[in-house]
C-alpha cells in the first residue's frame, strides 16, 4: 500500500517535472488564491490589532454616555443623531456626586463646524466645546501655553486651545499664544497649543480647536451636549459605576422606568466597544478570507480544466501504462497525486508569497508611522495548505476517474 503510494508519487512528480510550464500555469491559480488568503487574514489581523491597541491606549476605564435610546445589550451610535436629550447639567450631576464613588473625572462635548481666521489665513476645522476636565479624562499634553481651567470655563470668556495641525495651518512658524483669532466670526484668544497626537479612536485630535463648553454652545446655538465621558478610578468598578450613572441620569431626566425601556441615553464602556469592534472586524476578516477562498475554488476549476485536457493529451500514455500492467487504481492514483501535488506545491508557494507580501505591507505601514503588527497565524497556514490539497483532491477526482476508466485499446489507438 505504502509502496504503491510511493510509486504513484514518483510517477506524478516525474510527469509534472516533464511538463514544467503546464504545471506552473496550473499552480498559478492556487498560488494566487492561497497568497491572497494568507495576505488578507494577515492584513485583517494587523488592522484589527491596530484599531484595538489604539482604543486600549486610552485605557479601558472610560465610559461614554450618548443621547438616544438603544435596546438592551445593543449599542448604536447612529441612534444619537439629532437627539438633544443630553445636557451639560447631566455631566455636572455626575461630577463630584457623592452617590457615585470611583469616578475620577467627567467631561462633556458639544461639537460643531468651525471656520477659523487669523490675518489673511482661513481654516476649516472641528470646533470642540469641552470642559476643563477634558485632559483628565482623555489625556494629552500641551506644546505651549495652558488648557483652560474650570474658572476660565465658567466665565464664558473666549479662549481657545489649538490642535497642532490647526496651529500649523494658521500660524506657520509665527507665535500663536496670545494671538486673537476669529472662530465663526467671534474673536478668541489663543491660550494653548496641543502636542501632536494623531488619531485616537478614529478621531483626529490634531485637527480641532478646543474651547469652553458653554462658549461653544452659544456660538453653535445649541443647548445640549453630544457626548459625556466618565473616567473610572479602576476598571473593575466600571459596571457598578455604569449602573449608578444610569440611576442618576434617570432621576435627572425624570424617567420612572428602572429597567431602561424609556432611557433617552446610552451608556457604553470601552471594554464593550472593544468587544463590539472585535466582533465587527472579525466578521469582516472572515468575509474577506472567504472571498479570497473563492479564488481557490476558481483555481481548482482551472486545475480540473487543465487536467481534463491533460488526460486527453496523454490518452496514449495511459493506454501504454495499462498495457504494461497499470491497474485502474494506479492510473487514478497517478492523476490524483498529480493534482494534489500541483495544489500543495502551489499552496506552499502561495503561503511563502503571502507571507512576503504581508511583511512588505507591515513594513510599509511602519514606515507610514502606524503601529502595525505583522501577524501570521499557524492556523491560516494549515488552513491554506489543507484547503489547497482538498481543492486538488476534489477537482482532480473527476479527471483522474476519467483517466482510470480509459480502455487500453482505444487509448493505444488514439491519435
Amino acid at each position: 500500500m505504502i509502496k504503491a503510494f510511493m510509486e504513484s508519487f514518483k510517477i506524478a512528480v516525474t510527469s509534472l517535472l516533464s511538463n514544467k510550464i503546464q504545471s506552473l500555469l496550473t499552480m498559478l491559480g492556487i498560488i494566487i488564491g492561497v497568497a491572497s488568503v494568507i495576505l488578507i487574514i494577515s492584513i485583517g489581523a494587523g488592522a484589527q490589532s491596530l484599531i484595538l491597541s489604539e482604543i486600549k491606549s486610552l485605557g479601558t476605564n472610560l465610559i461614554a454616555i450618548l443621547p438616544g435610546h438603544s435596546e438592551e445589550g445593543s449599542f448604536s451610535p447612529t441612534n444619537s443623531f439629532g437627539v438633544t436629550t443630553l445636557k451639560y447639567e447631566d455631566a455636572l450631576a455626575l461630577t463630584d456626586n457623592r452617590d457615585i464613588p470611583n469616578i475620577e473625572a467627567v467631561t462633556a462635548y458639544s461639537k460643531g463646524f468651525g471656520v477659523v481666521e487669523w490675518k489673511s489665513e482661513t481654516y476649516n476645522t472641528t470646533l470642540t466645546g469641552t470642559t476643563a476636565s477634558h485632559l483628565d479624562v482623555m489625556g494629552g499634553d500641551l506644546e505651549e501655553g495652558h488648557f483652560f481651567n474650570s474658572e476660565e470655563e465658567k466665565r464664558f470668556i473666549r479662549i481657545a486651545v489649538l490642535g497642532s495641525a490647526v496651529r500649523k495651518e494658521l500660524f506657520g512658524y509665527s507665535d500663536a499664544i496670545g494671538q486673537k483669532i476669529k472662530i465663526n466670526d467671534y474673536v478668541f484668544e489663543v491660550i494653548g497649543v496641543m502636542k501632536e497626537r494623531g488619531n485616537v479612536i478614529l478621531e483626529d485630535y490634531d485637527d480641532q480647536i478646543f474651547i469652553p463648553l458653554r462658549t461653544a454652545q452659544r456660538i453653535l446655538g445649541v443647548n445640549y451636549v453630544g457626548l459625556i465621558r466618565v473616567k473610572v478610578t479602576s476598571e473593575e468598578d466600571i459596571y457598578q459605576v455604569e449602573e449608578n450613572i444610569k440611576t442618576i441620569l434617570r432621576e435627572q431626566h425624570d424617567i420612572k422606568n428602572r429597567k431602561g425601556e424609556n432611557d433617552d441615553f446610552m451608556v457604553q464602556n470601552i471594554a464593550k466597544a472593544l468587544d463590539m469592534i472585535t466582533e465587527i472586524t472579525n466578521s469582516l476578516r472572515y468575509f474577506l478570507a472567504i472571498m479570497a477562498g473563492l479564488s481557490l475554488v476558481v483555481g481548482g476549476i482551472g486545475i480540473m480544466n487543465i487536467m481534463l485536457i491533460s488526460v486527453t493529451e496523454r490518452t496514449r500514455e495511459i493506454g501504454l501504462r495499462k498495457a504494461v500492467g497499470a491497474k485502474s487504481l494506479h492510473v487514478l492514483g497517478q492523476f490524483l497525486m498529480e493534482a494534489i501535488f500541483v495544489t500543495v506545491i502551489g499552496g506552499v508557494t502561495g503561503i511563502i508569497l503571502g507571507i512576503i507580501l504581508s511583511i512588505l505591507i507591515a513594513t510599509g505601514a511602519h514606515l507610514l508611522g502606524y503601529d502595525w503588527d505583522f501577524i501570521i497565524s499557524l492556523n491560516s497556514i494549515f488552513l491554506a495548505l489543507g484547503v489547497s490539497a482538498g481543492v486538488g483532491l476534489f477537482f482532480g477526482f473527476y479527471p483522474a476517474v476519467k483517466a482510470s476508466k480509459l480502455d487500453p485499446i482505444t487509448a493505444l489507438r488514439y491519435e
Binding site: T14, S18, R316, E317, V324, G325, H330, I409, L412
Partner: protein
C-alpha cells in the same frame, strides 16, 4: 500444455447489428514459438492480437493463457498478467515522452511486485538490444529504430512469457526494420515466445509459423520449413 490455447474464439462489435471481427479462431501456441499473424487490414489480426495480449476480451469461445481461463479473470488480474507475462511492441513505439530510455524500460517494473534492482535489469536488457550507450538519452533524442529497440527492451524487462509485436517494422525504414527482426529472431533463438502481427510478407517470413487471416477467419496456419534470417551487417554495434 501449450502457452496459449484458443478454441472457437469470437469477437463481435455492436449490440443489435453484430459485426464479427473474429470468428471461430482455433489454434495453440507453444512456448518458444515464433508465430506471425498475417492478413490485410480489416482481417481481424489486430483484434486477435488485442485478445491474446489481454487488452480486450473475447465475445465467445475459450482462451487459456498458461493454462488459466482468461474469461474468469477480472480487470486487475488481467493487468497483473499483462505486467508479468506479456511484453508489447507497438508499431508507433508508444514510449513516454520527455523521459529517459532507462526510465521507459523500467516502466513495467513500477507496476510490478518484484521491482527490485529495476535499474540494473533495465540496463541489462538495453545492452541486450544494443542500446547500452543510450541509457540516459531522452526518447526524442534517438532514432526510430532505436525507439523500437527501447520498446523491445521494455517488453523484455519483466521476463515475459510472450512478446507481442504489432507491426513492429511498420514505421521504420527497411534497414532499421531488418535490425528489429534480427533482434526478435535472436530473442526467439534464446527461447522467447514471439507473436508478430504484420501484413508484410518479408517480415512474416522471418517467423517460424504463419497464421493467415481474412475477414475475421483463419484461412491458413503453416509452419515454415525455411525461416528467412534477417540480415544486416551493421545491426548491433
Amino acid at each position: 500444455m501449450s502457452l496459449i490455447e484458443v478454441k472457437n474464439l469470437k469477437r463481435t462489435f455492436g449490440e443489435e447489428v453484430k459485426t464479427y471481427a473474429l470468428k471461430n479462431a482455433t489454434f495453440n501456441i507453444d512456448e518458444g514459438e515464433f508465430v506471425a499473424i498475417m492478413g490485410p487490414s480489416g482481417s481481424g489480426k489486430s483484434t486477435l492480437m488485442h485478445i491474446l495480449g489481454l487488452l480486450d476480451r473475447a465475445s465467445g469461445g475459450d482462451f487459456k493463457f498458461n493454462n488459466k481461463k482468461v474469461s474468469n479473470l477480472d480487470d486487475n488480474e488481467l493487468a497483473t498478467l499483462r505486467n508479468e507475462q506479456i511484453g508489447f511492441v507497438f508499431q508507433s513505439f508508444n514510449l513516454l515522452q520527455r523521459t529517459t530510455v532507462l526510465d521507459n524500460v523500467t516502466l513495467p517494473l513500477t507496476y510490478s511486485k518484484n521491482n527490485f534492482h529495476a535499474k540494473q535489469r533495465a540496463e541489462e536488457v538495453l545492452k541486450k538490444v544494443g542500446l547500452g550507450h543510450r541509457l540516459h538519452h531522452y526518447t526524442n533524442q534517438i532514432s526510430g529504430g532505436e525507439k523500437q529497440r527501447v520498446a523491445i527492451a521494455r517488453a523484455l524487462v519483466n521476463n515475459a512469457s510472450v512478446i507481442l509485436a504489432d507491426e513492429p517494422t511498420g514505421n521504420l525504414d527497411s534497414k532499421s526494420g531488418a535490425q528489429i527482426m534480427e533482434i526478435l529472431q535472436k530473442l526467439n533463438d534464446d527461447g522467447n515466445t514471439i507473436i508478430l502481427v504484420t501484413h508484410e510478407t518479408y517480415t512474416a517470413e522471418c517467423a517460424k509459423r504463419i497464421i493467415k487471416m481474412k475477414d475475421g477467419e483463419i484461412i491458413s496456419d503453416k509452419k515454415l520449413s525455411n525461416q528467412r534470417r534477417a540480415h544486416n551487417n551493421d545491426t548491433i554495434k
